[in-house]
């Protein structure tokens, strides 16, 4: 089990993290917008996270911290 911390207010909703996650952990929260008006990425299936940090390494905005 791994732990993700997503700083939603830094997120620009680009979707690169969602695209590269091999475990389909990430998605977009359709109900929320952040302060900049972007739809932030969030962990929709956190229990599947293996802590590979692919998401964090592809995020251009350093939104995601991964612990394992």
């Amino acid at each position: 089990m791994a732990k993700l911390t997503i700083l939603s207010d830094r997120c620009k909703g680009c979707g690169l993290c969602v695209e590269v996650c091999p475990k389909k952990v990430l998605g977009f929260d359709k109900k929320s917008l952040n302060a900049k008006g972007y739809r932030p990425a969030s962990a929709i299936a956190p229990e599947n996270c293996v802590g590979c940090a692919f998401c964090a390494r592809m995020c251009p905005d350093c939104v995601i911290t991964v612990e394992r």
Partner: protein, 249 residues
Amino acid sequence: MAVVFEKSRSLTDEILTYCPGCTHGIIHRLVAEAIDDLGAQSSTIGVAPVGCAVFAYNFFAVDMMQAAHGRAPAVATGIKRALPDRIVFTYQGDGDLASIGMAEIMHAAARGEKITTIFVNNAIYGMTGGQMAPTTLVGQVTTTSPYGRKEELCGKPIRMSEIIAQMDGTAYAARVSVHDPRHVMEAKKAIRRAFEAQRGGEGFAMVEVLSTCPTNWGMTPIEALKWVATDMIPYYPLGVYKDSSKGAA
């Protein structure tokens, strides 16, 4: 629990001014991580370009200068010669480095200036709204090549890594990409090596990083990553073009 990934110390907490999904952000992080790995945060001086990365001085938590368009290698030369114990790097786009700044980069390499250049090749002028760059691919549509770049009119795009590798003063020249996590890890190694070459006094070092401009390419960020793989890499082969620690490539 142990931290597997967290933001580099050599980046500030400023929100980047880049468009969503623009890989300038990934490249900033890799540069910052290389500075962390060298333990050089307090002894590094960066030179920001003109282009979308003009505000890089707000994003790197190291001393920074900002140079006139294309002149970053000349400014870095002055800094390095005055303060030879510092790690000095330039961060430049393809318009900045391969067009208006062609003379400065060529002569910095020819002199074997002990600086590190991070060359972000996104095949377009990003900041000014998507005009053709010397690196724009044949057939690529830009605002100044609305029917696609024509070889008869503009020739073929310039491959800078291959050119820089030919210069005797160059210690290290490599082309990498950041379009997927595996390539990001490889890019990280190349950038780190380019900083180590400077620390070892080996000569000029440049890493060309293939990067996206979803906004001016007219693509989603994910389509743009795919375009790097399908269209850019075939023309701009990845690899180490020169490494003085291993002899010429």
